[in-house]
């Protein structure tokens, strides 16, 4: 019998749609938790696209595109 994995420990892609609300509520929203989550996200992006031997254009261009979209959204309030 496979041991049942706690909802707390499942990854986002394995969470069923109905459990999404409870899964979100269980996340760690303390300042330390938020900093940890940001740190993990940064580390994942950095180690995948930038900290390589032959990095390509995609690493920084995705960041720039995201910055463009974000600044467009913030500057035009009609959306």
């Amino acid at each position: 019998l496979a041991a049942a994995v706690l909802l707390k420990d499942t990854k986002l892609m394995d969470v069923k749609l109905g459990q999404l609300g409870s899964w979100l509520a269980m996340r760690d929203f303390t300042p330390g938790g938020i900093m940890g989550a940001m740190r993990r996200g940064y580390d994942r992006y950095y180690n995948k696209y930038i900290n390589v031997r032959k990095g390509g254009l995609g690493g920084i261009s995705m960041l720039l595109a995201g910055y463009m979209v974000l600044s467009y959204m913030w500057s035009y309030s009609h959306i």
Binding site: Y49, V52, R53, K54, G59, M62
Partner: protein
Amino acid sequence: MLSRVVLSAAATAAPCLKNAAALGPGVLQATRAFHTGQPRLAPLPPLPEYGGKVRLGLIPEEFFQFLYPKTGVTGPYVLGTGLSLYFLSKEIYVITPETFSTISVVGLIVYVIKKYGASFGEFIDKLNEEKIAQLEEVKQSSMKQIQDAIDMEKAQQALVQKRHYLFDVQRNNIALALEVTYRERLHKAYKEVKNRLDYHISVQNMMRRKEEEHMIDWVEKHVVKSISVQQEKETIAKCIEDLKLLAKKAQAQP
């Protein structure tokens, strides 16, 4: 060391602490185990060669793989086209003069990257390779140094096993020196004793010689004294007659 002194002093001061003194500093360290965890990231895994693949320079490959089972190859492109038309028609994206400058700038950037991207990338990669090679050399030299130190240490440890040769040689030398000194002193004692004995012998010889000479002189003196004048004249006359006889004989012979 001071802690041991303190512990022993405390043990003598309060007998109840005697058991505590048995747990000296060495025991405490022996019971705690260090380095029990699994070493992570050791040796360090090498850097990945290429980053995650990105299509059109903007969208990661994982998105295309995510939509492939449901929509096939063209799915994400159709989604992109539909989304952009939706934004344009609903005026979520407003067409302003900025749009045209954006289009020309983006076109220029794409052209420059397509033309010079590869060579620029090679140049940067070469710089990176040089840096990595330098660091690698430092690491290798440090490792070689430490390995040399280990080898020298092992060689010296092996030398320690051969120390007994040195001690044997020294022991032999000392034995030889003792033997030589003993023989020298033996010879000296022999010489001294012989010297003393020779002295006694020579003294005896000298005494005897002196006695002999003295006796001979004494006898001669007395004999000469005993020859009276008359006897001397008679003896000389007899000698002259004997000589005359001998002379006649000698003349008669040839």
